[in-house]
């Protein structure tokens, strides 16, 4: 099984900090699972121009191919202008419509204000459903006050990230097993 943490912003550090924490939890609980973090701040991505994802080169081709090859993805994002970051939306636009078929996707969200709590429900989940992801319904919402000097200081958040890691892996592996038993070809 391959799990990717996609840190979906080119700005700031909180999403990346939380993603590192989530991936650490996965690695501690499931040392056999191959994990990787893709932080969009570290790649120079082209805007989608409608071509097949395999026809992109460089960073754009690398990121799309890594995501397509994953079994599970934890998406991390800050909230920008009461919505998902453009950098993250561009990644979705680069992928085929059914890119998340047979993949489990979970979410963690960092925000400056608790008023943004429903943004993931209202704006991110519909995109993931359309792209055929199996969604871990509960996401981790983390506020500014839970961070200090690039560390998460709220142990409740750490516990929630731990549960997110477990939920993501359990859902992915369960679906995988059930799917394999459905057909004898």
């Amino acid at each position: 099984m391959k799990l990717i943490g996609l840190s979906g912003s080119q700005v700031g550090s909180k999403t990346r900090t939380a993603m590192n924490e989530a991936i650490k939890k996965v690695n501690e609980r499931y040392p056999d699972i191959e994990t990787d973090v893709i932080d969009l701040a570290e790649y120079s991505m082209l805007f989608s121009d409608g071509r097949h994802y395999l026809d992109y080169e460089g960073d754009t081709g690398y990121v799309t191919q890594q995501l397509m090859a994953a079994d599970a993805v934890i998406i991390g994002m800050p909230i920008f202008q009461a919505s998902i970051p453009g950098a993250l939306k561009n990644v979705f636009d680069l992928l085929p419509v059914d890119a998340f078929r047979d993949k489990t996707v979970s979410m963690l969200v960092t925000a400056g204000s608790p008023k943004h709590y429903l943004v993931a429900d209202l704006q991110l989940k519909p995109i993931l459903s359309y792209m055929k992801a199996q969604i871990v319904q509960t996401y981790v919402f983390i506020e500014e006050k839970d961070f200090h000097q690039k560390e998460i200081i709220n142990t409740d958040v750490l516990d929630r990230l731990d549960r997110l890691a477990e939920d993501t892996v359990v859902l992915s592996q369960t679906f995988e097993q059930i799917r394999e038993n459905q057909y004898d070809f």
Binding site: D49, R51, H52, Y53, L54, D55, Q65, M68, P96, D98, A99, R101, D102, R179, Q182, Y183, D184, F185
Partner: protein, 352 residues
């Protein structure tokens, strides 16, 4: 229909197509050489002819895992190796070639085959060939429309005056040789969507509809949209042939067919398209109303007759060889078509 060499009184035409893919056999991991693969395709065409099939076509692809980049050269070898079967492309990427050269090639193959050659023009699903052949992918649509239109004009008139954006003007140009019967059947390749089919309809061009399976009701919308657009464009749909193209595999039982075929499709699509074929959709392909023709010979007969009832199409072409299918299985399938499936399909679809 006669202009397109189609005779509905003989029943639904049954053909074979190959994309010319060159992939390992997933059961062994072995891949034959490109030389062997090309000879296999020529043999495949002669087998189809011997089994009494109507049509055999070869696709053009310029990406890795394909062997028929020069599909017209392969087609000319097939023209020489066969005597009766109609041959063609599936498809020719007209966007990235000069229509004059394409026409010269196909008219020549038509003369070699003594009037058996057809051309299906498509737009390419992958775009690597735009870089390879020196075209800008931003012109994807415009290139196709302009070049396809020029190709049709060349087919209709021996002397041509033409001006466009992507090619030097033609002033009273003679495009030679002319095909055996003066013109070639030229089809437009269409993906499954109604929007794409309507473009063929408005222009009054025969439609080749390729699909990866799905319910017949879904694709009926595409066929209906095509005929409606043809009518709106001032053409008589009754004079415009429709062909469908999709996966085919027959075995003793449905289960055996799915088991034999699935790894070829799944592994082959992973390599050529970057994503496998979902098992769920593949299993549904065996349903009676699904237009993927997998199952026992009897089930496939029922499926094809059902499709003919729903679409009223004139030709079906089967893709059997995708994903490193070994030659003995291809041979077995051609035998099943010729001996068991074809006679019944012809009998029940022939228009009195």
């Amino acid at each position: 229909m006669k202009q397109y060499r189609i005779h509905p009184e003989n029943g639904l035409e049954f053909g074979i197509y190959t994309l010319g893919d060159h992939l390992p056999d997933p059961h062994t991991g072995e891949r034959i050489s490109a030389q062997d693969r090309i000879h296999e395709l020529i043999e495949y065409a002669t087998l189809a002819e011997q089994a009494g099939l109507d049509f055999f076509s070869v696709g053009e692809s310029h990406q890795e895992y394909f062997a028929t980049q020069a599909h017209t050269v392969v087609l000319s070898a097939i023209a020489q190796a066969t005597n009766r079967i109609k041959i063609g492309s599936s498809s020719t990427i007209i966007s990235t070639s000069d229509p004059v050269r394409v026409y010269e090639n196909f008219a020549t193959i038509d003369l070699i085959s003594k009037g058996r050659t057809e051309l299906v023009a498509g737009r390419a699903s992958r775009i690597g060939l735009f870089d390879l052949l020196g075209y800008n992918v931003r012109d994807y649509e415009a290139l196709y429309e302009e070049k396809f239109d020029l190709l049709r004009q060349i087919n209709e008139q021996e002397n041509i005056n033409w001006e466009g954006e992507f090619r030097a003007s033609l002033k009273n140009a003679k495009v030679l040789p002319r095909p055996a019967e003066g013109s070639l059947p030229i089809w437009r390749a269409v993906g499954g969507t109604p929007a794409s089919a309507m473009k063929a309809g408005y222009a009054g061009v025969p439609m080749f509809m390729a699909h990866l399976g799905g319910s017949s009701d879904r694709f009926k919308q595409t066929v209906d949209a095509y005929r409606e657009a043809a009518r709106a464009g001032g053409h008589d749909p009754a004079e415009l042939p429709v062909a469908t193209a999709g996966f085919f595999y027959a075995a003793e039982t449905t289960q055996q067919a799915l088991k034999d075929l699935y790894p070829h499709i799944n592994e082959g699509m992973k390599r050529t398209n970057g994503g496998g074929f979902p098992k769920q959709l593949f299993a549904q392909g065996a349903e009676p109303h699904n237009i993927m023709n997998t199952g026992s010979p009897q089930e496939i007969i029922e499926k094809i007759l059902h499709q003919h009832e729903v679409f009223g199409h004139q030709r079906y072409i089967a893709q059997i060889d995708f994903g490193g299918m070994p030659m003995d299985k291809i041979r077995k399938n051609i035998e099943l078509i010729g001996d068991t499936i074809l006679p019944v399909v012809k009998k029940y679809t022939a228009q009195k």
